[in-house]
C-alpha cells in the first residue's frame, strides 16, 4: 500500500505541474483571445463589447499570481473558460460533448486491439516455428504503416468503392440522438470503420511486443518446470508463461490508454468523427486557445490516470511489487 500511496503522491505532483504549465504557456504568448476575436470580426466591435468579452474570457490586468489563483479556483469548479470557435459555449461543455465519442470509439477499439493482440502474441510465441510465423511479416507491415493511411485505405475500399459503411459522422442524419435501439445501431454502424482502423493499426504493436516477451519467458526455468510437472499445455501457456510475459506489456498498454483521448486525432479527422481530436483540429484552425488549453489538460490528466491504473494493475498482477521496499 505504501507503494501505491507513493505513486499517488507522484501523480498528484505531476498533475499540478501539468495544470501550471497549461496555465502559463498561453499567458507567455503574445496577444490574447479577444484581440484574435476582434481581428476575426475585422475590428467592427464597439469598445464596451470588447470589455465585456475580456471579462467573459477572464482576461484581467491582475498580477500573474492572482490570475493563477483564480485559474485554480475556476478549475476546481470545472470552469475552463469559453470557446472562441463555439462562442459563447463553455469549453467544458464542448469537451463534455465530444469526450464520450472519443472514449467510446478509441477506448473500446484500443481494448479490443489489446485483448486480441495479446492473445495472438501469446499463441504465436507458443506455436513459433509453425505456419503461424507467417503472420509476422504482415504484423511488421501493419506496425510500420501510419494509421491515418489505414483509415484512408478503408474509407476508399469499404466506404467509397463498396459503399458498405458510412465514411463520416458518428450517427446517421435520419436518427435522433436519444436512447433507442435505432440510435445505438446507427452509432455502431458508423463506428465500425474507424474502430477497425484503430484495431488494425495498433494491434500489430501488441502482437509483436507480446510475442517477443513471451518467447523469452518460454525459455525460463519455471516454464520448463511447469511442462515437466505434466501440466496441460493450456495451463503452462497461460498461467505460467503468459501470466509472466504480460507484466512488461502493462506499461505500454497504459500508455496507449492514456493516448486514447488524444492519440487518434487523425482517425477522427479522416472519418469526421465528432470526438476530442476533431475539436482539437477546429481549435487549432481558429486559434481557440481556451479550447486547446482545455483539451490539452484533459489529455494530460488522462495519461496520468491511465498510468495510475497501470500501477494498480501491476500491484494486483505482480506480487513482487507488493513487497515493502525498505
Amino acid at each position: 500500500m505504501r507503494f501505491l500511496a507513493r505513486r499517488l503522491g507522484f501523480y498528484l505532483l505531476t498533475a499540478w505541474a501539468a495544470i501550471t504549465l497549461n496555465f502559463l504557456i498561453p499567458r507567455l504568448m503574445p496577444g490574447d483571445p479577444v484581440e484574435l476575436l476582434v481581428a476575426r470580426m475585422k475590428g467592427n466591435v464597439d469598445p464596451a463589447a470588447i470589455d465585456a468579452m475580456r471579462r467573459a474570457f477572464g482576461i484581467s490586468d491582475a498580477s500573474l499570481w492572482q490570475q493563477y489563483l483564480n485559474y485554480l479556483g475556476n478549475l476546481a469548479h470545472g470552469e475552463l473558460g469559453r470557446s472562441i470557435t463555439f462562442f459563447p459555449t463553455e469549453v467544458s461543455t464542448v469537451i463534455a460533448d465530444s469526450l464520450p465519442w472519443t472514449v467510446g470509439l478509441v477506448g473500446v477499439a484500443t481494448l479490443i486491439s489489446y485483448l486480441i493482440g495479446t492473445a495472438l502474441g501469446v499463441i504465436m510465441a507458443w506455436k513459433r516455428g509453425t505456419w503461424l510465423d507467417g503472420v509476422l511479416p504482415a504484423a511488421t507491415f501493419m506496425h510500420a504503416v501510419p494509421y491515418f493511411w489505414v483509415a484512408l485505405a478503408l474509407v476508399f475500399v469499404f466506404g467509397v468503392t463498396l459503399q458498405w459503411f458510412p465514411v463520416s459522422r458518428a450517427y446517421g442524419l435520419d436518427v435522433m440522438p436519444e436512447l433507442s435501439g435505432e440510435f445505438a445501431q446507427s452509432v455502431l454502424y458508423h463506428a465500425a470503420l474507424p474502430a477497425v482502423t484503430i484495431v488494425l493499426a495498433s494491434m500489430a504493436d501488441r502482437i509483436l511486443g507480446m510475442r517477443n516477451v513471451m518467447v523469452t519467458t518460454l525459455g525460463e526455468d519455471y516454464v520448463v518446470m511447469a511442462e515437466a510437472k505434466g501440466l496441460t499445455s493450456r495451463r503452462v501457456m497461460w498461467s505460467y508463461a503468459a501470466r509472466n510475459a504480460i507484466l512488461p506489456n502493462i506499461t505500454s498498454f497504459a500508455l496507449s490508454l492514456g493516448f486514447v483521448v488524444g492519440g487518434s486525432v487523425l482517425t477522427e479527422i479522416v472519418f469526421s468523427y465528432p470526438g476530442i481530436g476533431s475539436m482539437l483540429l477546429k481549435g487549432v484552425e481558429n486559434e481557440d486557445f481556451p479550447l486547446m488549453q482545455g483539451i490539452f489538460l484533459v489529455i494530460s490528466l488522462a495519461v496520468l490516470v491511465a498510468n495510475f491504473l497501470a500501477d494498480l494493475a501491476y500491484v494486483v498482477l505482480d506480487p513482487r511489487t507488493r513487497q515493502e521496499s525498505e
Binding site: 518446470m225 511447469a226 511442462e227 510437472k229 505434466g230 501440466l231 505482480d318 513482487r320
Partner: protein, 327 residues
C-alpha cells in the same frame, strides 16, 4: 531391479555450423531406490542427458538414436521416447520428477508456493478435494522443513535454501519413482547445501525413490551417491560405486577430476587438475575424445574409440592396460 534403462542414447544440437553431438552412445542403468551421481565438466552433456530422459529437450536439440525404458514396479516396461502427449503428461511427475538447477528460477514468481504444489495435484489427482490438496501441500512443505503458513508465500519471499526445499516438496508431490536433480545445490552456500543433501538422503530412505544427481562437484557426489557415472564429451567414460571410484579411479579423466580438489584428510597429494579445455563437440577428436588432454595417452588412443567395458565393480572406457584403465 532397474527402474530406468538408457541404451545408446544420442542427442544432437543442430546449428548452422554443423551438429553438436552433445550426447552420444550413452548407456546407463538407474537401479530402484539408488542415488546415481552424474558428474563431468560443463558441456559434458549431463544436463542434456537428463533433459532427454525427461523429454524436455527443445529444438534445436533432437534425439538421434537410442532408447529410454522405464520399468514399473510390476515389471511392465514403458518406452519413454515413444510416449504420446497424454501418456507423457502422466509419466511426468507421477513417475519422474525434476528439481532444476536454481530454484530461484524454477518457481513461478507470480504464484504462491502452495498453489504450485496444488496445480500438480489438481492435474494428476483429480479425485482429491480442495481440502485434501491443501492438507497434502502442507504435509509436503512440512516434510522438507517449511512451516505451513509459508504455503501462501510467493517465491521471492523465501530464501534460496527454502526455495530449493519448496522445489523438492513439489517434486515429492506424487511420490515419483525417479527424481532427476540437476545441480540442485549449486547456487546455495555450503551450509545450506549440506542441509539439503541430508534432507535428500533422508527423504530417499523414507520414500524409496531413485535419484539422478547431476553436478560438476565430484567430492559432493562421493558423499551422497551410491553409484557414480562420469561423463566426458557426451559419453560415459566410467561408472562405479562411489567407494570404488574414490579408491581406484580407472579412467585418467576421473583421476584428473579427483585430483582437482584437495583432500582435507589423509596424505598430501599434488593437485593435478586437467590441462586443456573440453573439445569442440561439432568435431570431437578421433579415437578417445580425452586423448589430447590425457597425460597417459599413447598411439592407439587417437585411432580407436574405447568402448565401455565391465570391470569388477564398474565400467570404464579406456584403452590403458588392455581396456582396464589406470590400475
Amino acid at each position: 531391479m532397474n527402474v530406468l534403462e538408457i541404451r545408446d542414447l544420442g542427442v544432437d544440437y543442430l546449428s548452422g555450423t554443423g551438429a553438436v553431438h552433445a550426447v552420444s552412445g550413452v548407456s546407463l542403468d538407474l537401479r530402484r531406490g539408488e542415488i546415481l551421481g552424474l558428474a563431468g565438466e560443463s558441456g559434458s552433456g549431463k544436463s542434456t542427458l537428463a533433459n532427454a530422459v525427461a523429454r524436455l529437450l527443445r529444438p534445436p536439440a533432437s534425439i538421434t538414436s537410442g532408447s529410454v525404458v522405464y520399468r514399473r514396479q510390476d515389471g511392465s516396461a514403458v518406452d519413454v521416447l515413444g510416449l504420446g502427449r497424454n501418456d507423457l503428461r502422466a509419466f511426468r511427475w507421477k513417475e519422474l520428477a525434476v528439481v532444476f538447477q536454481s530454484a530461484m528460477n524454477s518457481l513461478n514468481p507470480v504464484i504462491t508456493v502452495g498453489a504450485q504444489i496444488d496445480d500438480v495435484l489438481r492435474i494428476h489427482a483429480p479425485r482429491m478435494s480442495r481440502a485434501e490438496r491443501t492438507e497434502r501441500s502442507v504435509e509436503l512443505l512440512q516434510r522438507v522443513g517449511i512451516s505451513a503458513d509459508r504455503r501462501r508465500s510467493y517465491p521471492h519471499e523465501l530464501s534460496g535454501g527454502m526455495r530449493q526445499r519448496a522445489a523438492i516438496a513439489i517434486a515429492l508431490a506424487l511420490n515419483p519413482e525417479i527424481i532427476i536433480m540437476d545441480e540442485p545445490t549449486t547456487a546455495l552456500d555450503v551450509v545450506v547445501q549440506r542441509d539439503i543433501l541430508a534432507e535428500i538422503k533422508a527423504l530417499r530412505e523414507e520414500y524409496g525413490f531413485a535419484v539422478v544427481f547431476i553436478t560438476h562437484d565430484l567430492s559432493l557426489l562421493m558423499e551422497i551417491s551410491d553409484r557414480i557415472a562420469i561423463m566426458y564429451a557426451g559419453r560415459v567414460v566410467e561408472t562405479g560405486t562411489a567407494k570404488a571410484l574414490h579408491r581406484t579411479p580407472r579412467h585418467p579423466y576421473t583421476l584428473g577430476l579427483l585430483r582437482s580438489f584437495p583432500r582435507l584428510r589423509g596424505a598430501r597429494e599434488e593437485l593435478l587438475g586437467i590441462p586443456g579445455t573440453p573439445p569442440d563437440l561439432r568435431s570431437p577428436p578421433p579415437g578417445c575424445a580425452f586423448h589430447p588432454r590425457c597425460a597417459m595417452a599413447f598411439d592407439a588412443c587417437s585411432r580407436t574409440l574405447p568402448v565401455l567395458t565391465s570391470e569388477a565393480d564398474g565400467e570404464v572406457a579406456c584403452l590403458l592396460n588392455d581396456g582396464r584403465g589406470v590400475s
